[in-house]
C-alpha cells in the first residue's frame, strides 16, 4: 500500500480525535498504549475460554486522529470490563502482521480490531484468527481482503464513500439553491490520489450536485492534503475564479483551508460543505461559517464495532457482519 493510501486512511478517520477522546475521558484507563480496565486482568470468558482482551492495531499511533481512536477504544472497552492492548505498527504492514501474529499466538487475544496498513497482507492473520476462533474486525470492504462477502469469525467495517459523496453533493446543491439561485461556480477540494474510495466518492458528489442544482458548475478540483497547503491552493484558485460560490470538500482540512483562504482574500464564501465533521468543522457549521458537514459518526462506529466483537466471542465460528460507519448530515439547524 502506498504512503498516500495509508495517509488517506488516516485522514479518513481524522474526525475521530476529540470525539473518541470524550469516550476516553469517562474511563479509568491509564492512558498508556496498553491499559487495563479496572477490575479486569486476563478475565477469561466463561464460555469459550477467550480472555476479555481486545487487541487494537491501527495504522500507527502517530496521527492524532488514530491516537484519539485508540484512547476512545480503551475508554469504551474498559467501561465494559475489557482489557485493551494497543499496537503501533507505524504504517509498516510487515510489522503489523508480525505484531498480530505474536499476540494471536500468545493466547492473550480475545478479539482483534485491525485497521490494516495493507489489507492484502492480512490474509494469513485472518486465517490464523479463524483457526484459533478469535473474532476479528477489519476496517474495509470484504473485497479489499480478497473475500466476496461476510466470513466466519470476521466482521468488516467500512466507510460508505458513495453515500458520503452523494450527501455532500446534495448539501452543496441545496445550499446553492437556497443562497445562490441554484447556480454558481464550485471548487471541489478532493482527497489526494490513492486514497480509499476516492473515485466513487467524487463521482457520487458531482452527480448529486448536478441532480440537486443543475445550474451549478464544478470549475476546479484540487487535491488537498493539509490545511496550510489547502489555504494556499484555494487562495490561488480564488484568484483565477473570483466569483466562486461554493467549496465542497472531501476532507475537513480542505473546508478549513477554504475558510482561511476566503478570509485572507477578503471575500465571503456562500456555500462551504465538507465530508468528515471534526470538532472544528462542526463549530464552524454551528456558527454559520459553513453550511453543512457530512459527519462520520466515529463514536457510534467505535461502539458498534466493539459491541459486535464482544458478541462474536459467544460464537466465533458464526459469520461476522458487514458494518458501515454511520454518517450524519449536520447543518446549523442541528
Amino acid at each position: 500500500m502506498s504512503s498516500a493510501t495509508r495517509r488517506g486512511r488516516a485522514v479518513t478517520i481524522a474526525a475521530v480525535g476529540s470525539v473518541a477522546l470524550l469516550a476516553a475521558c469517562g474511563s479509568s484507563t491509564s492512558g498508556t498504549s496498553s491499559s487495563s480496565a479496572a477490575g479486569s486482568s486476563s478475565g477469561s470468558a466463561a464460555a469459550g475460554a477467550l480472555p476479555k482482551t481486545l487487541v487494537f492495531s491501527p495504522l500507527s499511533l502517530a496521527p492524532p486522529a488514530l491516537k484519539g481512536l485508540s484512547e476512545g477504544v480503551k475508554g469504551y472497552a474498559g467501561s465494559k470490563g475489557w482489557q485493551v492492548l494497543v499496537q503501533d505498527p507505524n504504517f509498516d504492514a510487515t510489522k503489523q502482521t508480525q505484531q498480530l501474529n505474536e499476540v494471536l499466538d500468545s493466547g492473550r487475544a480475545g478479539a482483534a480490531w485491525v485497521i490494516a496498513v495493507a489489507p492484502k497482507s492480512m490474509a494469513g492473520i485472518l486465517k490464523a484468527a479463524q483457526s484459533k476462533k478469535i473474532p476479528i474486525l477489519v476496517n474495509g470492504r470484504p473485497d479489499e481482503y480478497g473475500y466476496s462477502g461476510a466470513q466466519p469469525g470476521i466482521t468488516f467495517d467500512y466507510i460508505d464513500y458513495a453515500a458520503g459523496g452523494k450527501a455532500l453533493g446534495e448539501q452543496m446543491g441545496t445550499c446553492l439553491n437556497q443562497k445562490h439561485g441554484g447556480t454558481g461556480k464550485v471548487l471541489f477540494g478532493v482527497s489526494t490520489p490513492g486514497q480509499a474510495g476516492k473515485q466513487e466518492f467524487e463521482a457520487a458528489a458531482t452527480s448529486a450536485l448536478k441532480a440537486t442544482a443543475p445550474g451549478a458548475t464544478v470549475v476546479q478540483s484540487i487535491p488537498i492534503a493539509d490545511r496550510a497547503k489547502g489555504q494556499t491552493d484555494i487562495g490561488n484558485a480564488l484568484q483565477g475564479t473570483p466569483d466562486l460560490a461554493g467549496v465542497m470538500s472531501s476532507t475537513d482540512e480542505a473546508a478549513l483551508g477554504a475558510i482561511g483562504a476566503f478570509a485572507a482574500g477578503g471575500k465571503t464564501l456562500a456555500c462551504n460543505v465538507d465530508f468528515g465533521g471534526n470538532d472544528e468543522v462542526l463549530n464552524n457549521v454551528k456558527s454559520g461559517k459553513m453550511y453543512a458537514s457530512v459527519a462520520l459518526q466515529f463514536q457510534a462506529d467505535m461502539a458498534q464495532s466493539f459491541d459486535t466483537l464482544a458478541r462474536m466471542q459467544a460464537d466465533p465460528t458464526a459469520k461476522g457482519q458487514i458494518l458501515t460507519v454511520p454518517q450524519k448530515v449536520v447543518t446549523s439547524n442541528g
Binding site: T232, D233, N236, Q239, G240
Partner: protein, 347 residues
C-alpha cells in the same frame, strides 16, 4: 623597466580575459534561476491573463512561497556549511507544539515564540555537537527527528492544539497590505544574506562547507562554524513551525517529511552545491518563489495540480543537468585556454 613602460596605461592581455562563452555559461549557472523565474512570470502573465499579473496575485505568490522559503533557508545554510539537517520537520513540530502548550496555559505570546525559537537553537546545538564527535550528520539528525517527533506528540498529548489565534499577527495579518510571513521571510533572507556574504563568520562558515580541512589548517576553528550552521538551521526550522502554526492557528505534533522534500527542491533549483561551500540565499528564495509561481499559475488556469508537481520535477532535473553540463564545459574550456596559453606563452 623604462620610463615609458612605467607611464603606459596598463593593458590586459586578451588571453587573460575569460572567453565570452565561458562568462556566459557562468552567468547562466549563477543567475539562470532569476532568468527562469522572469520567464515563468512572463509566460503566466500572458497565459493566465488577466488574473496572474496583478499586485494581489504577486502577494499571494510571495505568501505561498514563505513557508518553503523559511525551511529552505535552514536546509540551505546546513548544506552550505557541509551538513544536511533532516531534523527540521521534528524541530518545527516540537517548537510549534511547545508554543501551543504555553499559549493554551495562559503564558504570554512572546514567551511561546521565544521558547519555540530557543528549541530550534538548542536542537541545532545538540545536532552540531553530536555530529562533531564524528557521527554522520544525516544519521544524527534522523535520530533527532525521531526524538522531537515523539516529544511533540507527548507534550501535545498526541492531538493538535487548535485556537492559537494569538499568533495570527505573524500568520494571516497584513502590514501595509503584505501578509506577516512575507515580512518575516524578507527579514530572514536579508539578515542571512548579509551574514553569509558580508561578515567574517559567514564567509568562514561557507569556507568550512567547501573545504573543512583547508580551513582548519589555516588556523580557523572550523568546528564552531559547523555547529553554527546547525544552530541556524534549527532556528529556521522552529521559525517555520511557528509561521505554519500562525497561518492555520493550530499546532500539529505530526512532523511532515514533505517539508524537507519541498525545501530541498527549492535549494536544488537554486543550484546550492550539495557537497557544500557554494550557494546563495537570494537564489534559494527565488527557488521557493518558482515553486509557488508554478503552483499559482497552473491553479489559476485550472490545470490539474499534478502537472505542477511534474513540471517542478522536470525543472529540477533540468536544473541539475544544466548545472553539471555547465560546470564541466567551463572547466574544459578553461583548461583548454590555459594549455593554449602555456604553449604559446601568452599567459
Amino acid at each position: 623597466m623604462t620610463g615609458t613602460a612605467s607611464t603606459a596605461a596598463p593593458t590586459r592581455n586578451p588571453a587573460d580575459v575569460d572567453p565570452a562563452g565561458v562568462r556566459w555559461l557562468i552567468f547562466v549557472r549563477d543567475r539562470g534561476i532569476f532568468v527562469l523565474w522572469v520567464l515563468l512570470l512572463l509566460g503566466f502573465s500572458v497565459w493566465a491573463n488577466p488574473y496572474f499579473a496583478s499586485l494581489d496575485n504577486a502577494i499571494l505568490i510571495a505568501n505561498a512561497a514563505s513557508l518553503t522559503a523559511i525551511f529552505a533557508a535552514g536546509v540551505a545554510v546546513g548544506i552550505i556549511c557541509g551538513a544536511l539537517d533532516l531534523s527540521i520537520p521534528g524541530t518545527a513540530a516540537f517548537g510549534s507544539c511547545l508554543c501551543g502548550v504555553l499559549l493554551t496555559h495562559g503564558w504570554p505570546t512572546w514567551t511561546g515564540i521565544v521558547a519555540a525559537l530557543l528549541v530550534g537553537v538548542v536542537v541545532g546545538l545538540v545536532n552540531g555537537l553530536i555530529a562533531l564527535r564524528g557521527f554522520n550528520p544525516i544519521v544524527v539528525t534522523i535520530g533527532t527527528l525521531s526524538v522531537l517527533s515523539g516529544l511533540a506528540a507527548v507534550i501535545a498529548g498526541g492531538y493538535t492544539i487548535p485556537g492559537l489565534d494569538a499568533l495570527t499577527f505573524m500568520g494571516t495579518q497584513r502590514y501595509a497590505g503584505v501578509p506577516g510571513p512575507v515580512w518575516i521571510v524578507a527579514a530572514l533572507f536579508v539578515l542571512g544574506t548579509v551574514f553569509l556574504t558580508r561578515t567574517r563568520d559567514g564567509i568562514r562558515m561557507m569556507a568550512v562547507g567547501g573545504n573543512r580541512e583547508a580551513v582548519r589548517r589555516s588556523g580557523i576553528h572550523s568546528d564552531r562554524y559547523t555547529v553554527l550552521g546547525f544552530v541556524i538551521s534549527g532556528f529556521c526550522a522552529a521559525l517555520g513551525g511557528l509561521v505554519t502554526t500562525a497561518l492555520v492557528t493550530e499546532a500539529n505534533p505530526e512532523a511532515s517529511p514533505g517539508i524537507i522534500f519541498t525545501a530541498l527542491t527549492a535549494v536544488a533549483l537554486a543550484g546550492v552545491s550539495l557537497s557544500g561551500g557554494r550557494g546563495s540565499l537570494p537564489r534559494v528564495l527565488v527557488g521557493a518563489l518558482i515553486l509557488a509561481t508554478i503552483s499559482n499559475g497552473l491553479t489559476i488556469k485550472g490545470i490539474q495540480p499534478y502537472w505542477g508537481t511534474t513540471v517542478t520535477g522536470l525543472l529540477l532535473l533540468g536544473a541539475i543537468g544544466l548545472e553539471k553540463w555547465i560546470s564541466a564545459t567551463v572547466s574544459r574550456r578553461l583548461v583548454t585556454t590555459a594549455q593554449a596559453s602555456a604553449h604559446t606563452g601568452t599567459r
